[in-house]
């Protein structure tokens, strides 16, 4: 009834190719962004920010990055945890070396540094693909974690190797450290998410993204029609690592504040990100958000329902939570192998016809 496009005509190519061609979608999206920026920060509390929204936003950035690599270019990577660690340690070295610089600049620089490292580890992708590439990126994961655990320079020679985010500001607002207000942290992360999602969306529907998808669908055919696999694959690694590096930097400095590399950026993190992308939907911007939301928010919701409301013992609740997440992953993949993004698309198509499907 409400969700329909009657009378919604595109009169130019520009209108036809916009991100949300249906006016209702468009309005809903802008309303959502306005609420997220102008309403939520005034009502957010420590729990919602630190336990729910910050991890969701930061994982969404990482999922976007991995989706560019795995979903759009078809290069499976298990090195995302390691690349997040690069972002985290780059931001730590930058923020302790140049304390007076706007912290947003450090985050961007951390992203660029990670992009460089990503290109380096992406070089094998020119020769190998599929499972073999996954194993090659696995080497990146283990090497990077080992490096940040081993070489004292990266953690300023602290006796434990744990890095701590000291208070730093961005545009006059404190964004890291314990005294930073959660509203500021939230808006800081949200701004990165919105800008990066816009970049990802526009990259993937432009010529760059089409080259990536051509490589994904059949690399030899792509090469024959004139796509240079070297630039296409390495640019995918660079952009993907840039996103993941930014998410790693935010993860360490804004969200956790203290990080032990072997613990936080282990292989588990790489798997978690891969699950997000697969469950959310490979090759979909919305899917990255949906996957991050599912794997971050669902366990928190389960925990609050099971122990908070029903008063279950904590260990039982955790076991049930882990089993439910696993079960739902399997169910999702059987019922809808293209992920939550595809489910959402089907729902929208049904809604457009509802209530008169014939």
């Amino acid at each position: 009834m409400i969700y329909r496009e009657a009378g919604d005509f595109s009169a130019s190519y520009k209108e036809d190719s916009q991100t949300f061609p249906i006016r209702f979608d468009r309005i809903a999206f802008y309303a959502f962004v306005v609420v997220a920026f102008l309403v939520v920060p005034f009502f957010i509390n420590d729990y919602w920010a630190n336990a729910v929204l910050l991890p969701f936003l930061i994982y969404a950035i990482a999922a976007l990055g991995l989706n560019i690599l795995t979903g759009y270019t078809g290069l499976v990577s298990l090195g995302s945890g390691g690349f997040m660690a690069v972002g985290a340690f780059a931001s730590y070295k930058l923020m302790t070396s140049f304390p007076d610089v706007n912290f947003a600049v450090h985050i961007l620089l951390a992203g660029f540094i990670t992009a460089g490292v990503g290109v380096l580890f992406g070089l094998p992708s020119l020769r190998i693909k599929g499972f073999y590439l996954a194993v090659a990126t696995l080497a990146a994961q283990f090497f990077l974690v080992w490096l940040f655990n081993k070489v004292g320079w990266f953690f300023n020679y602290s006796p434990t190797g744990i890095i701590n985010a000291p208070p730093r500001t961005s545009f006059g607002f404190e964004v890291t450290g314990p005294a930073a207000s959660v509203s500021v942290k939230y808006v800081f992360c949200l701004s990165f998410v919105v800008v990066l999602a816009l970049i990802a969306r526009n990259l993937t529907r432009g010529s760059v993204g089409r080259k990536w998808m051509a490589i994904r669908d059949m690399d030899i055919a792509a090469e024959i029609i004139g796509v240079n696999p070297l630039t296409a694959k390495l640019s995918a690694f660079a952009v993907s690592s840039f996103f993941i590096g930014i998410s790693g930097a935010l993860f360490f400095s804004v969200y956790l504040g203290a990080v032990e590399v072997a613990d936080t950026f282990s292989i588990q993190k790489s798997f978690l990100l891969l699950f997000m992308v697969i469950i959310g939907g490979l090759g979909s911007i919305f899917g990255s958000f949906a996957g991050a939301a599912f794997l971050v928010l669902f366990p928190v919701l389960m925990k609050n329902v099971l122990t908070g409301w029903w008063g279950w013992p904590t260990d039982l609740a955790t076991h049930v939570e882990v089993m439910s997440v696993g079960l739902l992953i399997v169910v999702f993949l059987i019922m809808e192998p293209h992920g939550m993004a595809r489910l959402w698309q089907i729902a929208k198509e049904k809604l457009r016809l509802w209530p008169f499907p014939h």
């Binding site: 190797g161 701590n164 314990p178 409301w309 260990d315």
Partner: protein, 428 residues
């Protein structure tokens, strides 16, 4: 549906509101995950002691204790969630039993004004109360532990370690790396060689290469900083190569029954540091039996009573309750808040008379806490495993560490933290 949601939301808000009638102790436990074998007995002991206080005395100073348990699975992210969800409920003290979560909470304590007690773990330099106002790690810490272990070795070797070799087998992470700076200084001072043998957390049950190196190089002593499944694997490997067990000394986190039982008789004679006595041969256990076990109020499965880590949970809870008593004495009120709790911890004194009166004679070392010193006196003892009777027993008195060495390191590390975070020293 909307009404239902609103009701739930209201219920959640009300549940989250500070319950001012209780002394709230969140228990950030881990009963699941790779380190559950250590997390379960500690969490059980921690909860059982509070239950016993409630049942026997009706709380502390007439105010009942409420324990909120939250599962972290030893994960820092879940720890953050637990911290944020419990801090608004009147939490008096956090004891996360995880180095990662402790490091994460430390900066927040000064803002939220809730103290942290990392008993024998966490950030060692938090012993410097001048910099870390809200963090305590009494009765001892890793650097003291390393020093006590070396002192014990000195005793065994007749006071001379020149030319000897000590190997450190450690979990390659923040926790395992802690003793290295201290051991380096001590190696220089006493003239022994230090060999570092890291064990990766992801593959901690596979220590073939480390023990091959030990078999080849034959270090005179092996120290171990391990946790979880690393400990039994190491002790089994040591038994396999017939390493002399009384030359193999673990830290107090490598000192539980879970660690030695799998190796059977091979583990006989294995030594470990202790910050409290093992076993259930204390009058307090009668009170626990009467007020908790017999009433069926045990936390968890109730099968951990008397184990080393269960005792550690009891010890942590006992120190918390004593700090509450001290705080109530200072401020003259029963319902203390977190800031008063901090004052109580800072004025805490544990004497042998006090422990005897609590039904725990000789259970832990004597120590006192002050504004400058949040780490106690740093004493630790050595306990040894007897495989035949399956019991731990203390084989030394509480040994005091080499304070000159350790205090200088603590001053240096806390000064670095203070400089990085613009903290000015207090207690002046």
């Amino acid at each position: 549906m909307k009404l239902k949601l609103a009701t739930y939301a209201l219920a959640a808000v009300m549940a989250a509101g500070p319950a001012m009638a209780d002394l709230v102790f969140p228990s950030l436990s881990y009963r699941t995950g790779p380190y559950a074998a250590g997390g379960i007995p500690f969490a059980d002991g921690y909860a059982d002691y509070f239950t016993m206080i409630n049942e026997r005395d009706g709380g502390v100073g007439g105010v009942p204790i409420k324990v909120i348990e939250c599962e972290t699975g030893y994960s820092t992210e879940k720890g953050v969630e637990c911290y944020e969800s419990t801090k608004g409920q009147g939490a008096l003290l956090y004891q996360p039993l995880s180095t990662g979560i402790t490091y994460n909470i430390i900066p927040k304590t000064g803002v939220d004004n809730i103290p942290v007690h990392s008993m024998g773990y966490g950030r060692t330099s938090a012993a410097n109360g001048k910099v870390f106002e809200w963090v305590f790690n009494y009765p001892t810490n890793y650097w003291n532990g390393a020093s006590v272990a070396v002192k014990h070795i000195l005793d065994q070797e007749g006071g001379d370690l020149n030319g000897k070799t000590i190997a450190l087998l450690f979990l390659n992470g923040a926790y395992g790396k802690e003793p290295i700076p201290t051991l380096n200084v001590l190696a220089e001072k006493h003239g022994f060689d230090l060999t570092l043998l890291p064990v990766e957390g992801a593959t901690m049950q596979d220590q073939k290469s480390q023990w091959l190196q030990i078999r080849r190089e034959k270090p005179d002593y092996v120290l171990m900083w391990g946790w979880g499944a690393m400990n039994p694997a190491a002790i089994q490997e040591a038994a396999n190569i017939r390493y002399p067990m009384d030359h193999f000394i673990g830290v107090w986190w490598s000192a539980s029954e879970n660690d030695v039982l799998p190796a059977g008789d091979g583990a006989n004679g294995y030594k470990a540091l202790a910050i409290h006595a093992p076993g259930n041969n204390f009058p307090l256990y009668d009170d626990l039996k009467a007020n908790v076990y017999d009433k069926g109020m045990t936390a968890g499965a109730g099968d951990q009573s008397g184990t080393v880590l269960y005792n550690r949970g009891l010890y942590a809870a006992m120190l918390a309750v004593e700090a509450v008593k001290t705080a109530q004495g200072i401020h003259g009120v029963g319902q203390i808040d977190a800031a008063m709790m901090r004052d109580g911890m800072e004025a805490l004194e544990m004497s042998s008379d006090k422990m005897a009166a609590l039904g725990l004679p000789g259970f832990g070392p004597e120590f006192s806490v002050s504004c400058e010193n949040h780490g106690g006196n740093g004493l630790a003892a050595v306990q040894q495993w007897d495989a035949a009777s399956k019991t731990w027993s203390l084989v030394t008195d509480y040994i005091s560490p080499d304070s000159d060495v350790v205090n200088a390191l603590i001053a240096a590390d806390s000064a670095a933290f203070a400089a990085e975070n613009n903290i000015s020293e207090r207690c002046n």
